[in-house]
């Protein structure tokens, strides 16, 4: 049973109600059965809990263990220094949790935006009386009254109506008011006798019987879906988890092995615990999460300046992986502005571009039979009329001042035409415009080059040919006619026996920058699929024009409804275009694409687009035309609604992936000298070359600025010429790990240990000699280890800018942020080495010039060694 197919009596019977409405008692009972008429909000995890969850992720657990051990040693051995280390580690845990939280946080207000669309009060008939009640108390079977300006409180079937029109754009995206009737409809017909919760009454009034309330309404279903769709972690979040897992494995493994070794060779439990802490701290890249977050934040600012506002930081990187962009047509690919492009007049017998046309009576009709206005050079009015007035006015000067409008027979969707009666001096002329199928049968004569003549069958055929030609190219066709009036006239017979003047063809032209953006997508291996509510012909023409597809398979919404899952997957493999769809279809398409392994970006603007925006890997809402609900559900907002901006954002996302790889490789390199110093401490029983605090000074101090600067590296020129990265492609790959750990890391370790040995032996130390923590020689020796790591990392930051290309070719100074970053790194190093407070905290001592100078060759060696590697890679 479908409620729209029933008669009024059947509807009331099915709902167990009458025109007098329910009794209060029955309404109360139904309220208990069906629940309140409101959008139920799903309980969200409070942000404090979400923040807290990052305090117990893998990195954090490792650091908690290290911190706990430090506090334990501090307690057992009464060592305040260890307590400081413990405190520092706990601080690091909180810093990392904060940055991770920042990365995935997105103000989630979609439910609030949805709730705003529901009315608070409703007029309802109960026990024969009209009363006002809170809208949440409406139940199925209630009889509601709606008037112009009201918001409808539930899904209802109209039983009585007076010129009712409603705006249901929140469900269909169709902005034109929809006329509602009270007569039964066939099952296959549009249910124009239903009104939906959340829609607005534009004009008229009506009485309707409620058949669904709360979450069971169409609007409730959208809200339900919007809330139900849970967002899985973005690829970068998953990658960071993977990195954390890998590091944990390495750190725990190394700690265990060397702790056991330490116990076996008998270095003492306290030293051994210090060693275990050192291995953990050295392995964990403490600065990684803040760096990733800050780089993403910088990238999002760059994107914002290019009209793409990113709501969730980690989405910046997801964009780079997009393999499919599902886009709307109107406003995104096209300008969302109708323009009159062509005209056809019988006396010129062929179609002409408007820009080539001269003044004509057709254009006069387009100006006079038109309610749009030009004010301050802006055209105000309904889009089609505005386009006609704008187009005609560019050819003909303002003719309205010469004519006076005497009468108007208005346009209605049933009549599909309008007419105006105009006077100029003693002349009275009727000008009409409308759909050709309506205007042409009302014309008996035609304006030709030989003057006004009777219209022949051949004339009609020729006109129909032109109309089909324009329509076939996806244009909207408007026919014009006139009639000279002599003496008195009656409105009923006015629009008959008219003279056919010609036709005008309108369309919404594509945005100029879109074809280039589409071309870029093609080169980048990104598929573009148009999903539009518009008709198939128009969509196909535009898709062809901008280069999205040559001969796409066009699937309409109703065809899609009949398709099975496998059939849909098959068409999605080829060139395809979806027309006359509703946002429900969009969700299905997005889901199918995701199941096929695609990373999907999808655009949307309506309330009903919200579920698809959430389901997609990247939901893109329109900034200009989008609703609050769409904006709240999206990951990115396009401030200019332009397709080309999505492509720019993808480019930025791809660069981000490369950059994250760069600074991960960079950060991982310095972990090797840190780890090696602990290994040598245990195996060779030398004094510890680098303290835990010094490790933290590097990880969270000197390293941060260059890492962030590497994140700001500009996209490489070929970034949009290569296919999207494979789904699941790791940031951390074996070659990257090998390069960081076994190649550059090893050079840094050799540099650090050589410098350490140089200072120690230069100060009179010999192997086996004990050295206290406060000994000036020991302080200096650890200082040079720290300095060696930082100086070689400067060279590493320069060489990390490219993976294959020589850094000298792209220019050492082309990333100004990196130069600033290196400057900050060196200033920080000097502050650590030469200022008293930092010396005290980090346990350092001033270095001499000759000690600095022995570090430089190592930096140069690292730079050129990697250049040699790149050269070999390029050659192979």
């Amino acid at each position: 049973m479908r409620i729209q197919t029933l008669s009024k009596e059947e509807v009331l019977r099915e709902l167990h109600t009458t025109e007098q409405g329910l009794t209060e008692k029955e309404a109360r009972k139904r309220l208990l059965d069906f629940g309140e008429n409101e959008i139920a909000e799903r309980k969200k995890v409070p942000w404090l809990f979400r923040f807290a969850s990052h305090l117990v992720d893998l990195f954090a657990i490792l650091l908690w263990i290290a911190g706990g051990l430090a506090f334990l040693v501090s307690r057992l051995a009464d060592d305040v220094g260890m307590a400081y280390i413990g405190l520092a580690l706990v601080t690091v845990i909180f810093i990392n949790a904060f940055f991770t939280f920042l990365q995935e946080y997105r103000a989630e207000k979609a439910s609030e935006a949805l709730k705003k669309l529901m009315p608070y009060q409703a007029s309802v008939i109960r026990e024969g009386k009209e009363i006002h009640i809170p809208a949440r108390q409406i139940v199925p079977g209630d009889i509601i009254t709606v008037r112009a300006g009201d918001r409808v409180s539930a899904d209802a079937r109209i039983i009585k109506v007076a010129d009712l029109a409603v705006d249901i754009s929140h469900l269909t995206g169709e902005s034109e008011p929809q006329v509602r009737k009270d007569v039964p409809k066939k099952e296959y017909e549009e249910p124009t006798n239903l009104i939906y919760s959340g829609s607005t009454v534009v004009r008229g009034n009506g009485i309707a019987a409620v058949f669904a309330t709360g979450m069971a309404t169409e609007f409730g279903k959208i809200a339900h879906l919007t809330q139900e769709i849970e967002e899985a972690p973005t690829p970068i979040q998953r990658e960071l988890t993977y990195v954390a897992r890998t590091i944990t494995f390495i750190a725990v493994g190394l700690s265990f092995i060397f702790f056991t070794a330490g116990e076996l060779i008998g270095i003492g439990t306290q030293a051994n615990i210090l060693f275990a802490i050192g291995i953990i701290v050295a392995n964990v890249p403490e600065g990684l999460l803040p760096t990733v977050t800050l780089s993403l934040s910088l990238a999002s600012q760059r994107m914002a300046s290019r009209n793409a506002l990113v709501k969730r930081l980690s989405s910046v990187e997801t964009l780079g992986g997009a393999t499919v962009i599902c886009t709307d047509k109107t406003g995104t690919i096209t300008e969302n502005k109708m323009t009159m492009d062509y005209i056809y007049t019988p006396y010129e017998s062929k179609s002409k571009k408007l820009s080539d046309a001269g003044p004509s009576e057709l254009l006069l009709a387009a100006i006079l039979c038109n309610n749009a206005k030009i004010e301050d050079n802006k055209v105000i009015g309904e889009p089609t009329e505005a386009a006609l007035l704008q187009g005609a006015s560019t050819i003909m000067a303002d003719v309205r001042s010469e004519w006076e409008r005497v009468d108007e027979i208005a346009f209605t969707s049933e009549r599909k035409m309008m007419s105006t009666v105009n006077r100029k001096e003693n002349m009275l002329v009727l000008y009409s415009k409308g759909a050709p199928v309506v205007i042409l049968p009302k014309c008996t004569r035609i304006a030709t080059e030989k003057g006004i003549q009777n219209i022949t069958d051949e004339d009609r055929e020729r006109i129909v040919e032109h109309v089909s030609d324009y329509a076939g190219r996806g244009m909207r066709v408007i026919a014009f006619a006139k009639k000279s009036i002599e003496g008195e006239y009656t409105r009923e017979t006015l629009e008959e026996n008219m003279v056919f003047l010609g036709i005008g063809a309108l369309r919404d032209p594509p945005r100029k920058e879109v074809p280039y953006a589409v071309e870029k997508c093609k080169r980048a291996g990104i598929k573009v699929i148009v999903i539009t509510g518009d008709d198939p012909l128009t969509a196909k023409t535009i898709a062809r024009e901008v280069g999205i597809a040559k001969e796409p398979v066009t699937i309409t919404g109703s065809q899609l409804d009949m398709m099975r899952k496998r059939e849909l997957e098959e068409v999605l493999h080829g060139e395809v275009l979806f027309a006359r769809t509703t946002p429900g279809h969009k969700l299905r398409i997005v889901r199918a694409l995701k199941e096929m392994g695609s990373i999907v970006a999808v655009t949307g603007d309506g309330v009903n687009d919200a579920p698809a925006l959430k389901e997609a890997d990247i939901g893109v809402a329109m900034g200009k035309t989008g609703t609050d609900v769409a904006r709240e559900s999206a990951d990115m907002i396009l401030m200019d609604d332009n397709f080309a901006t999505i492509v720019l954002a993808v480019e930025e996302g791809r660069a981000m992936f490369d950059n994250i790889r760069r600074f991960i490789a960079y950060i991982f390199t310095h972990l090797v000298p840190q780890i090696v110093s602990y290994i040598l401490f245990v195996l060779l029983r030398i004094p510890l070359p680098l303290t835990v605090i010094q490790i933290l000074a590097i990880d969270l101090g000197t390293e941060m600025a260059p890492s962030i600067a590497l994140g700001a590296e500009r996209p490489e020129p070929d970034v949009m010429n290569r296919p999207p990265r494979r789904r699941g492609e790791r940031i951390l790959t074996v070659p990257i790990l090998l390069r960081s750990y076994l190649f550059l890391g090893l050079i840094e370790a050799i540099a650090a240990m050589s410098a350490y040995y140089y200072v120690l032996t230069g100060g009179g130390w010999s192997y086996g000699m004990p050295l206290s923590d406060a000994d000036p020689l020991y302080l200096k020796a650890t200082t040079i280890t720290l300095a060696a790591i930082v100086i070689t990392q400067v060279a590493n930051s320069l060489t990390s800018r490219t993976t294959k290309e020589s850094v000298f070719k792209i220019g050492i100074f082309t990333n100004k942020y990196l130069i600033i970053g290196i400057a900050i790194e060196l200033i920080l190093l000097f502050l650590i080495v030469y200022t008293e407070p930092l010396q005290r905290i980090t346990g350092t001592a001033p270095l001499e010039l000759n000690e600095w100078l022995i570090l430089v060759p190592f930096a140069v060696l690292l730079l050129f060694a990697d250049e040699l590697r790149k050269w070999l890679v390029r050659k192979s």
């Binding site: 208990l32 069971a216 339900h224 139900e228 993977y242 409804d561 099975r564 889901r591 699941g728």
Partner: protein
Amino acid sequence: MYRKIVSAVDGSFHSELAAHHAIAIASSCDSELVVLAVDTGDVEREKLSYSVERICQHSKDYGVQAEGIIRRGDAVKTILKVVNSERADLLVSATRRSEYRLFVRSITQKIMLKAPCSVMAVKPAGIARRGKSMLLPVASRELVTDELITLTSCLAKFYEHRVEIFHVVELQRWYTLPWKELYTMRHHGEEEMMPVAKVLREQGIDVDVRAVISESSINAIPKEAAIGRHSLALMRASRRGILKQVVYGNPIERMLSSILCDVLIWRPKL
């Protein structure tokens, strides 16, 4: 399959909507229908008899032979008594909202625990069925009995619905797995359901099969019901240990409250 079906009603609009499904099954299975109302003193007798009469009339419209019975007494005991005396094969009853619950501690739950015959708990969403398909969530092929196939087939034929067999592969942190692995798992899930689809197709039902990977079927099924715009979901009741119930809640309660279309929960005969 069903010789006699008992539809328990309580005079409410809600229970009459549930009775429509009993009529649907009776019509397709050519069964006799007993419309039973228990007078517990809460609802006027007149209203009860009016409700029973209306459902019987409705049944006749669909060619179903229906008998109306009104008995006085305790709801659970009386229903069980009638089920036994009538030797009913299936009992259909609506779930009602009380306090914050739809099922737990309801009459329907008590009947479901005690009735010897098959029981179907129905949560009607409203009267407008706009979708053209029904959802059949299946946890495993072994749980699909001949009776479930018959029920599905009866409902699909009566409402002229397509059936979507929906299988959830439950997997924690599935999103960390490579896509190919997920694709293969989904494919295997669908393959596992194919024999069920085949049996239904042989009965002239249009069937689609979908498998998804999700952390929990309790979240995946309501989402699927909404995305697929299904007008009803038919599912088999599953038992959950007491500890699990304490932690995760009653699965039937969760399904009834989170699926927005009509939900039919079927428990096979004991």
